[in-house]
Symmetry: none
DNA sequence: ACACCTAATAACTATGGGTTATCAATTGGA
DNA sequence: TCCAATTGATAACCCATAGTTATTAGGTGT
């Protein structure tokens, strides 16, 4: 009766919610199955809510259980982050910022941010992870990342989005492609070529924007290859397997037999934005965001 | 050693952090002072961080303790909110109902349901999808839909079916068709016309019912066109490509050069039923069904 | 009818949270 | 300077309960 919810319950609950099987979950937790059953039952009594439906032979989550699962994941994750921050504070550091990014952000924006950070807040640790747009947004929602560098038009409720870097697009051609930069007038000249693009589900906004560039030139591109790495795209172009359209700043840092023609006159721009959760309580994040938004003016 | 952080620690910690006095904090928690001291000490060992500075005669928070206090307040508060939400979900006030429907249900039944739902259970989200009878029944069997608005005579084992709206049929004629409403006696007058009907596999019951209306009038209709959209049917009638027989309530909401003659005296009725899976446990669904069956009496 | 799963129940064990009693250290008056 | 008062920490004990083993009851598939 006078029982109290404890973190132990959370871990037990998660194990069962993941395995949907009491014995296996108990094994994973290194406790016995009856003990686990009893704790889950107790948890349901404390919360006064059925969390699992047990038919002999199958266990499944109720709607409430489903909800609780995501909340507990959030809380336990938050707790882990807090523990880490505590150590940082004890050691006199200011904390850690976990940053997600698209490969293309590594050219300019991230190096600048890291240099500035190191100078102004030497105590802030950074933790970098290359992820797709979608993976970043999801990770930020779940507080697995503090901020992400993405190319998206909009983000779900609760997230902030601020442009930090705007870029023209460039056409990527094999070095020996028979078209000189000065002969180039518009993308329509390339309508017959095969196009190599970043995968649509890696960056829908990029994909749509490239499509609109082609549409403006009056054709629909034949897309022969898709990739998620600039390196791969350049390699394919180098080997005459097609041509590409990419954000201009991506051209730097590679050693390839390709040439670039910047689409200066096209109105489309590749916008890199920083994304973070409105109610993120990581104090180090604030410093990062401020740095980014001020320096980019 | 192998100790584990628990929510109990959080409450104890908060009490001490607020009182800055072990004995008073212990009183507030209805436990003894030594017990509290030991738990706090244990907590510091688990986290490997000093949280309080105890000089005899004064207790104060360390920087880490200060930070932890705000984080714990956040977590405990979040937990309270979550508990409250759980109850709501259990009671069916939250969650989502996935509803399938025939176009003809959009005239009356669905708008009414949505209005009522919004009023009585504002937390329930709905997800609407227009599908054929068959597609709905299959989706419900596979738990892809919670409920569907269908026109069928029977449903497979395990599904429930309840009429929610009963309707006469109406003949649809081109606006300038040479037959005035008051001259109309029965469908037999139209035996020579081409008929435009909803596709048989879209709604077998509808199809059979229309056939029986014609049979009763002593003829078998020539069916020239079939469609799944009322809009299309009206358009075809408007252009003198045939006449139609439809559930009466479908006539509302369109702007077409057609006229309707209600078959008041025919015994056939177009019955719209709601269909759902017997063992569907979505609590929000129960509310929907109850609402529907009570209001439709 | 059978073996073989499942989760729940029952009865027991023992960890560790909470207890009381006490100590050591600090403070403040007389 | 000494004593009373008050602080949090220690020590030793107790018992509530998390976790144990053994078993049962209910399903499923052959």
């Amino acid at each position: 009766m006078g029982y109290q919810l404890e973190l132990r319950h959370f871990n037990y609950f998660l194990a069962v919610a993941e395995e949907l099987h009491f014995r296996r979950a108990a094994e994973k937790l290194f406790i016995s199955q009856p003990g686990l059953s009893r704790q889950i039952k107790q948890m349901e009594e404390i919360l006064e809510v059925k969390l699992f439906v047990r038919t002999k032979k199958k266990v499944s989550l109720t709607a409430a259980g489903e909800y609780l699962k995501s909340e507990i994941e959030f809380i336990l994750n938050h707790l882990e982050v807090t523990k880490k921050q505590l150590r940082h504070i004890r050691d006199g550091n200011f904390g850690e910022v976990r940053i997600g990014f698209l490969g293309s952000a590594m050219q300019e924006v991230i190096p600048n941010l890291l240099i500035e950070l190191k100078e102004r807040f030497p105590g802030i640790q950074t933790n970098l992870e290359e992820l797709s747009n979608n993976a970043q947004v999801n990770a930020i929602l779940k507080d697995k990342l503090d901020m992400g560098f993405v190319r998206v038009a909009r983000v779900p409720q609760g997230l902030n989005l601020q442009p930090v870097y705007t870029d023209t697009f460039s056409v990527v051609l094999p070095e020996l492609y028979p078209l000189l930069t000065r002969e180039f007038t518009d993308v329509g000249q390339l309508a017959a070529e095969n196009f190599i693009l970043f995968a649509q589900d890696y960056s829908p906004l990029y994909f749509d924007t490239v499509m609109s560039i082609c549409e403006d030139a009056g054709f629909t591109p034949k897309v022969s290859h898709k990739s998620v790495h600039a390196q791969t795209i350049f390699k394919l172009v180098e080997n005459n397997l097609g041509i590409a359209i990419i954000p201009t700043s991506l051209q730097y840092g590679f050693q390839m037999k390709v040439k670039f023609i910047e689409l200066k006159n096209n109105p489309q721009r590749a916008v890199l934005s920083v994304c973070w959760k409105e109610d993120n309580r990581n104090p180090a994040l604030r410093h990062c965001i401020n740095l980014l938004l001020n320096q980019s003016l």
